[in-house]
Amino acid sequence: MSRDLRERCRRTVQAARVVSALGQRSVRQTFRRPQLMAPLLVFPSLLLAIQSSGAGRAPTLQGFPELGSHTFFDFLLAGAMVQSTLLAGNTGGIALAVDIEMGFTDRLLAAPIPRFTIVLGRLAATAALGLVTAVYFLIVGYIFGARIEEGILGIMAMLAIVPLSALSFGSIGAAIALRSGSASVVQGMFPLVFVILFLSSAFFPRGLLLEPAQTVAEYNPLSWVVEAVRDPSISAFSGDLIAKGFGGLALIGAVGIGMCALAMRRRAGAN
């Protein structure tokens, strides 16, 4: 092994250790503060419970996709999971902004570690939270009679897409935190989470949304992600939908990471 390659390996391992340490710190921080963790589970659970019963007759509408033996609750489960990942992204952004306000991020910037690890550590924690919420909603779904059409494979697909979705949305939250350095600015983005959700097929089939939401939902990557999570739970796998879901995640992630890189460069330059 050449010296150059050995050095590169050493740096990669070192960066992975930093990401892991920062990720663990972020996860602990979230679990220690119930006000950070609660919205991820409480709001989506509340809306899931209310909407599944409040609009429970929706599947009888003309134009509603055939659900077979599944209920509107099963249909909404994917929306609740993705809603939770959006909130996890927002929460991750708030926690990063608090670190910036407290001066912790400045100390990390002064430390001999690659800058990308600061963001990646936070995103790893957000992805871990995404996994926790996916497991939580699968358990809630199981308790209330939801059945995953594609069985174990379907569950594995959901457990892969949901954390990735948290990571992608987390990158947007992190970028806003790095750019603004203010927790209240990131907190102020909270209502936007619902705007994005309402303009997607998270709660209702695209074809039954009213205009202009229907047209926006068509091009909203969030719709592709939700449909990819929903697909294995209420019908047989569709390669197209899964591919579109991953495409949506890649698009959101690329935009978020790009924004993070720009904001980090600016912040590091200012220091």
Binding site: P34, Q35, A38, P39, V42, F43, L46, A49, I50, Q51, S52, S53, G54, A55, G56, R57, A58, T60, L61, Q62, G63, F72, F73, G188, F190, P191, F194, V195, L197, F198, L199, F203, F204, L208, L209, L210, P212, A213
Partner: protein, 275 residues
């Protein structure tokens, strides 16, 4: 001076004292309401979340669930008219919860201790919080009605509009009593999610999304016993069918019941805080 005249004079003096005390108490309530209004004028940005959230929910839910009007048995021809009272009450709920958060902030900052040390009776402090919320709830309500009429909400008529406004003010009283109760019990702003989620759950677990007969599952059983269902349906009358006494009184009874429960509890918590 005979004893009859003495009794009359004494009665007059007592009445004068009581009148003076009441006037002082009311002046103090007015001062507390002015303080809350000043807050709104000095930091208008603080009101934005309370205005934005119900408006986003109203427009968003209309776009998402608007097709539900095609269901057999859905008695409104336009979903925005069906939904607007829910959003108006939700706005009142958020405003009331915000009053609780502000009270918790005052407790944390020591401002509330100063109010407790003043000669103001405890009910005056609570009345100030409740009345201020009733007035502040008109801010999101105005915004929502403006947006609603712009996107096709039916004109409810003067009677329907006044009824809706009355229901909003009363709901803000319920929500601020709840917010004050939680703030006084936990004494921290971290309890804010409990204040907001409590109101959200109360208002949305009703016939918010569809008429009672179209609800399914647990909500079909719960909505009829949730007092907020009667409040939502009373406020909805003008927007969907027409105001009637039969549709109004259950809402009034429900509001009176909630206030009769929450106001004494908040007052008890306030007395404990000051003890």
């Amino acid at each position: 001076m005979d004893s009859e005249t003495m009794t009359k004079n004494l009665a007059n003096e007592v009445a004068k004292d009581v009148g003076n005390d009441l006037a002082k108490d009311l002046a103090m309530v007015a001062a507390l309401v002015r303080r809350s209004a000043n807050e709104l004028l000095r930091v208008p940005g603080a009101a934005i979340p309370g205005v934005m959230a119900p408006t986003i929910f109203f427009v968003g839910l209309t776009a998402v669930f608007g097709s539900l009007t095609q269901l057999d048995g859905f008695h409104a021809d336009n979903y925005q008219s069906f939904l607007i009272p829910v959003s108006l009450l939700q706005g009142a709920g958020f405003t009331g919860a915000a009053a609780g958060v502000n009270l918790a902030r005052d407790i944390e900052a020591g401002m509330f201790d100063r109010l407790l040390a003043s000669p103001a009776p405890r009910w005056v402090l609570l009345a100030g919080i409740i009345l201020a919320s009733c007035l502040r709830a008109m801010v999101p309500a105005t915004m929502l009605l403006g947006v609603g009429f712009a996107i096709g909400v039916h004109w409810p008529g003067i009677g329907g509009l006044l009824l809706a406004i009355g229901m909003i003010a009363a709901m803000a009283s319920v929500a601020s009593s709840w917010g004050a109760l939680i703030a006084l019990h936990f004494k921290t702003q971290s309890a804010a999610p409990l204040m907001q989620a409590g109101m959200l759950a109360l208002i949305l677990t009703t016939s918010a999304y569809a008429p009672r007969e179209l609800l399914t599952g647990w909500l079909h059983g719960w909505a009829p016993i949730n007092p907020a269902t009667h409040i939502v349906e009373a406020a909805r009358q003008g927007f969907t069918e027409g105001v009637s006494w039969g549709g109004t009184w259950p809402g009034l009874v429900a509001l009176a019941g909630l206030l009769a429960l929450l106001v004494p509890l908040a007052l008890r918590e306030m007395r404990r805080t000051g003890a």
